[in-house]
Amino acid sequence: MNRQSLKLSMEIARVHLVSKPKQTIVAMLGVTFGIGMFIALVSLMTGLNNFTEELTMTASPDIHIYQEETSSRKSILEEINPDGLNLVYHQKPKNETTKIRNAREIARLINLDARVLGTSPLVSSQVFYNYGPVQLNGTILGVDILDEDKLFDLRSKMKAGRLEDLLSNHNGLIMGKGLAKKLNVALGDRVVVTTPLGTTITLKILGIFQIGIGVVDNVRSYANISTVQTILQKDQSYITDINVKLKDRNLAPLVASELQSKFIYKSEDWQAANATYLTGSMIRNIITYAVSFTLLIVAGFGIYNILNMTIYNKMKDIAILKAMGFAGVDVKNIFMIQSLVIGFLGGIAGLVIGYGLSFLISKAPFNGGDIISLDHFPVNFDPMYYVVGIVFGVSTTAVAGYMPSRKASKVDPIEILRGQ
């Protein structure tokens, strides 16, 4: 009985929709546009977010352990005479070493943790690179290149040369692509490296890598730990940083705080290190959803209007249907079905258009310049967003259609029939 009534309501709804094709299509286009833009926007935004996140991840370790340089400290006077009236002018910072004591032992202990995938102790230093007349500021990292590879998959980032060559050559260097380009050097060239202490060393370029972001590729090179220790005139136990990679990157804040309280040294997780980037990606997401939501609301108002107009024009039909024995709910169904069909078909068309737009965007050439190595837009084709899109679209039209449909169900047939 009820199913038959629903079928009849569907049939009437269908006739209403096809007898006014222009109006139906305009209503659908509103939804199509909203969903299409949502898909295109969200695909591009999340694509970009994922891409930059990936890059950031390749460039920063899950946890970075280092000696934090203390900027202010108590004067000796204050320590001896804590309650006195002490005045110390122009106190200079203490010449503290950035060395991590027992670094290799700490790295070994961290490695024992089941959540840890690998560690890489290293020596880092600011240096000048000289090649001919060109002098550039940068950093040099003394690493065990195989450990570092395990953490950052350097092997796949090599543009020239091989990682293994560094193992056998103590006067070698693997240089970032951007840095090499600025220095105008190629594989096999020799560059002079000057430390802040004034010592210099000549190193041969054994490889060139490209991680993909300017802040790394334009300043960094890798050498062996002993090489960097030598130019810094330090002993073999001198280690300035430990990089840690976890099995689950999301545990980083937890593990970092554990490590910090255990080993005292500053342990920074990637979330903290990339707070600006994470905020940026969150804001991009908010904008995407806000814009799409606005578009859908506008489409919803369109449907609301069109349905209201239809119902206004169909007052007599509604009255006659009610006189003939249609209950309020049957009348409501007629119009709810119309708005749901508009929402669903418009939404499906929106998904197709959204996919088309995303596809075109993913093929569009885009030059990331020196900052990011990118030749076209990264686009995310995650089907989840298509599900979100259609659910979003159909619910908007359901909400927009509900009020006019309810109004139609409440129409008093006598008022309409008497009015004639």
């Binding site: 038959q4 006739v15 003939m324 249609f326 209950a327």
Partner: protein, 225 residues
């Protein structure tokens, strides 16, 4: 004679713009197979009474009974289902659904009732259309028919569920004399041949005088029955 519709002491008030009694203790009995016409001066309350009898208006005092069922106090949904099965309507402005064909218009109340299969309903609808002489227009859009033809479609639609009673508020009010005569003849035949009960409001004295039972109203009362 078997009564099919009875009212007892029906009063109705309108409160806008001021309190005003539009129906005054209406006691009416309509027998099965009777062709009843309701006449009276404009504004005397004929339409208002028809809406009460049709069960669409529930805001009245007194009692209404159709086909042995007491309808006073029933819910809107129950009344809608009752109308669907027991009452057929013919309005002054034929009120066909313009997007549907003639045949579909006639079929809709039967599809709603869901007593027969779709195929049977279609056959029954064609029979009714044939009876009214408009079966050749069955597939046409309902809006493409003349006024008289549309009114006959409306009658076919009113008949489709074999209602206990057909109600019409000035069913010929919008028709010329030729079509008025045609509708009158159809109503006569329905009552005499098929024992169909019909109540029709009319301003047409000739129409009323030819009916079986002429009920006259004045100022909210039945004055001649």
């Amino acid at each position: 004679m078997e009564p099919i519709l009875t009212t007892k002491g029906v009063n109705k008030f309108f409160y806008e713009p001021e309190k005003f009694q539009v129906l005054k203790s209406i006691d009416l009995t309509v027998n099965k197979g009777e062709f009843l016409s309701l006449v009276g001066k404009s504004g005397c309350g004929k339409s208002t009474l028809m809406y009460v009898l049709s069960t669409m208006d529930t805001d009245y005092e007194g009692e209404l009974q159709i086909a042995g069922q007491r309808l006073t106090g029933k819910s809107q949904n129950e009344l809608a289902a009752f109308r669907n099965a027991h009452i057929g309507f013919v309005f002054q402005f034929h009120y066909l659904l313009p997007e549907f064909s003639v045949l579909q218009n006639v079929m809709i109340p039967a599809l709603k009732l869901n007593r027969y299969s779709r195929k049977e309903i279609e056959e029954r609808a064609m029979t009714k259309l044939k009876m009214l002489g408009i079966d050749e227009h069955a597939r046409k859009a309902s809006s493409k028919l003349s006024g008289g033809q549309q009114q006959r479609v409306a009658i076919a639609r009113a008949l489709i569920n074999d209602p206990d009673i057909i109600m019409g508020d000035e069913p010929t009010g919008n028709l010329d004399s030729y079509n008025t005569q045609l509708v009158f003849d159809i109503f006569s035949e329905l009552t005499h041949t098929y024992k169909q009960t019909i109540i029709a409001v009319t301003h047409d004295d000739e129409f009323a005088n030819k009916s079986d039972h002429r009920v006259e109203m004045s100022d909210g009362r039945i004055v001649k029955s």
